[in-house]
């Protein structure tokens, strides 16, 4: 999806930034889904990428197996993912509410393993292609070459982020979910069923993650491991933006996308070093600004 049209170094640079925005948008939505769960229960969900992978396979099955039109498959996948997220919280996570960080990490890793294995069991480990919903081709603009694919990814991500924002900011349920995660005790006294709020949080998170999976799948190939690097970069984005801040997660994710695109272009062997760079960014951010770009530096817990 990267195509250099001229030798002009400034243009080449801008070109890379634009294509970085597209992958950044994917990291941003997965990072957002991580942050939604982190805010609700202080756990980094290591299975987030695998859940998104599974959702993408569902979309794949709906499109290739049931021959549904893309849009319907897309909507159905989001709905199924929401239900799956709720179910996972109720069945797997709920028994461990209030457990130590290590226990929760292990439970989400176990979930990682189960979801990954199940996808392999159903769909196998052979690479599959996931057709893009966007037209082939590109927009020419000031000597830049912006693929419909990239534009589509950015557009869909923006819509999803806007929906999530509106939901949490302007609906009663969204408000109750925010209240329940910030002030569980006080919320229960107001009649809020906090347990279900948590489950809905997992559902929404899974739905947002599903979008990130479906957006990146046409760019890479589909196999049970395809979301693992995305998960890492989403983590990097979330940490960069401040793991408690949804806005931070989005900005962080986009920044990571741009950074990696530039790295791939200007550093020899950069493709292989992308993950190592992610590690460097995580550690550097945590050392220099532990709360991230958008996090408040106050310590909430001891």
């Amino acid at each position: 999806m990267i195509e250099l049209v001229s030798g002009n170094p400034v243009q080449a640079f801008v070109q890379q930034v634009v294509s970085g925005l597209a992958s950044g948008a994917v990291y941003a939505s997965l990072a957002l889904s991580l942050v939604l769960i982190y805010r609700a229960m202080d756990v980094a969900n290591f299975a987030q990428g695998e859940m998104a992978m599974f959702s993408t396979f569902i979309a794949y099955a709906l499109i290739t197996g049931f021959h549904l039109p893309y849009l319907i498959a897309f909507a159905l996948t989001i709905a199924i993912s929401f239900g799956g997220g709720v179910l996972i919280e109720r069945v797997v996570i709920r028994p461990f509410e209030g457990s130590s960080v290590l226990t929760l990490v292990i439970v989400t890793l176990a979930l990682f393993s189960i979801v990954n294995g199940t996808a392999g069991l159903i769909w196998g480990y052979v690479f599959k292609t996931f057709d893009s919903p966007f037209q082939f081709g590109a927009v020419h603009f000031q000597g830049l070459y912006i693929g419909y694919q990239d534009l589509g990814i950015i557009g869909v991500t923006l819509v999803v982020l806007a929906l999530v924002f509106v939901f949490f900011r302007y609906t009663k349920l969204g408000l109750a979910m925010r209240a329940a995660s910030l002030y569980p005790e006080a919320s229960r006294l107001l009649g809020v069923r906090t347990g279900w709020m948590l489950a809905f949080g997992w559902g929404i998170s899974a739905a947002v993650g599903a979008v990130s999976g479906m957006m990146i799948a046409p760019v890479v190939f589909l196999d049970p491991g395809f979301m693992q690097p995305v998960l890492l970069f989403a983590f990097v984005g979330a940490v960069l933006g401040g793991i408690e801040s949804p806005l931070g997660a989005v900005v962080g994710g986009v920044l990571v996308g741009v950074l990696l695109a530039l790295l791939g272009t200007y550093v020899p062997g950069g493709e292989n070093l992308r993950i190592a760079m992610g590690l460097v960014v995580i550690v550097a951010v945590l050392l220099i600004k532990p709360a991230g770009l958008f996090g408040r530096s106050e310590v909430r817990r001891v």
Binding site: V101, V107, L232, I282, L286
Partner: protein
């Protein structure tokens, strides 16, 4: 029942005898593949002992100890089969083992320094990234590491004209090293150092206020943990006579953590059970039909079974299998003593500590 021989309770001696017979019997009675697998168990035991020090005792969550194994493994492979040193030539396998440990320990110290500032979930995230970074980095510097193709080595042969097959020799060597490394770990955990680690794990604030240096003990834990992982990585490579970057995927790091948790966090004997399970459980899962869920057979799907077993264990046996065994022994003893009408032994308290990760006392008292 309190009969003793040379100061040891008879019961302990009998158990030790049985263990020794089983230990020597395994390579003599199993086929070459099984012996090889049991040698790998020893390597995993060493790596899990190292992880136990870091995560179980000092409370720092590491999802990246596989990276230290990679460093150890590649140290051995490169020195012994790829890059002859000037004047010396290829380093004999045996000498590369401690070197592998030291190089890994050095990396462990270096990583332990930034890790000082990272707690809980953040450390887990950073080490997760570390685990994921290993394979692509090894691939990237393929001129040095051999890249995708990996490094092939000659298989190790028994020295001194010992009448053993290669696999038998590897089995004894790996377990001998595991036994040798168990001792300092055991002693360390019962010493000041071990108590300092546990104090840090239980409350950093309290540890600091009683004069424990966080910087020193936490980086020390990282270094030692990496040393054990490095040795394990080296043995693993020698066993397999081959190494490639894909051997060090995230799965390896997770396997170590899973082995630790299943065996029993902060329990001296946990790593042995953990090592046995992480080597043999996937094997049986793949071989057998596995358990069936309705029409779906999970045979050949160790991922799913691993995940389910893991969740069940953290739920039903949060102290791992050793914790479960400890509880079983306590239950048995209390029943036996009740039957005799004897006063309850003080032993349960000791067992309690062991399973709670307090003083690392023996499970089988």
């Amino acid at each position: 029942m309190n009969a003793r021989v040379a100061g040891f309770p008879i019961y302990t001696l009998v158990m030790a005898g049985v263990a020794l017979i089983v230990f020597i019997g395994i390579p003599l009675t199993t086929n070459s593949f099984q012996t090889f697998q049991f040698a790998n168990v020893a390597a995993f035991v060493i790596a899990i002992v190292g992880l136990n020090i870091l995560t179980g005792y000092s409370g720092q969550i590491s999802l990246g100890n596989g990276a230290f194994m990679a460093v150890g493994g590649y140290t051995t492979a490169l020195l012994a089969a790829k890059w002859p040193l000037p004047f010396i030539g290829f380093v004999p396998y045996g000498y590369t083992i401690p070197l592998a440990g030291l190089v890994a320990a050095l990396l462990g110290f270096l990583i332990g320094i930034p890790a000082l500032r990272l707690r809980g979930i953040y450390l887990a995230l950073a080490t997760f990234a570390l685990a994921l970074a290993v394979t692509p980095v090894l691939n990237n510097y393929d001129g040095f590491t051999g890249g995708h193709a990996g490094v092939f080595m000659k298989s190790a042969t028994p020295p001194f004209g010992l009448d053993l097959s290669n696999d038998q020799w590897l089995y004894f060597m790996c377990w001998a090293i595991a036994a040798i490394l168990y001792v300092p770990a055991f002693l360390m955990l019962r010493s000041r150092t071990g108590r300092a680690w546990m104090a840090i794990r239980d409350s950093e604030t309290a540890a600091v206020s009683s004069g424990i240096s966080l910087a020193y003990y936490k980086t020390l834990a990282f270094g030692i943990s990496a040393f054990y992982a490095g040795i394990a990585g080296s043995l693993f490579v020698i066993n397999n006579a081959y190494v490639d970057p894909d051997s060090y995927s995230l799965a390896l790091s997770l396997t170590l953590l899973i082995g630790l948790v299943i065996g029993g966090l902060a329990n001296v004997w946990g790593p042995i059970l953990g090592g046995l399970l992480v080597v043999w459980l996937p094997y049986f899962a793949e071989k057998s039909a596995g358990f069936r869920l309705g029409p779906i057979s999970l045979g050949g799907k160790p991922d799913i079974e691993f995940g389910i077993v893991l969740i069940l264990i953290v739920f039903f046996a949060p102290n791992g299998l050793t914790g479960l065994i400890g509880r079983g022994i306590r239950w048995y003893r209390s029943k036996r003593d009740a039957g005799r009408g004897a006063a309850p032994l003080p032993a349960p308290a000791v067992l309690e500590e062991a399973t709670q990760g307090g003083e690392p006392s023996e499970i089988i008292g």
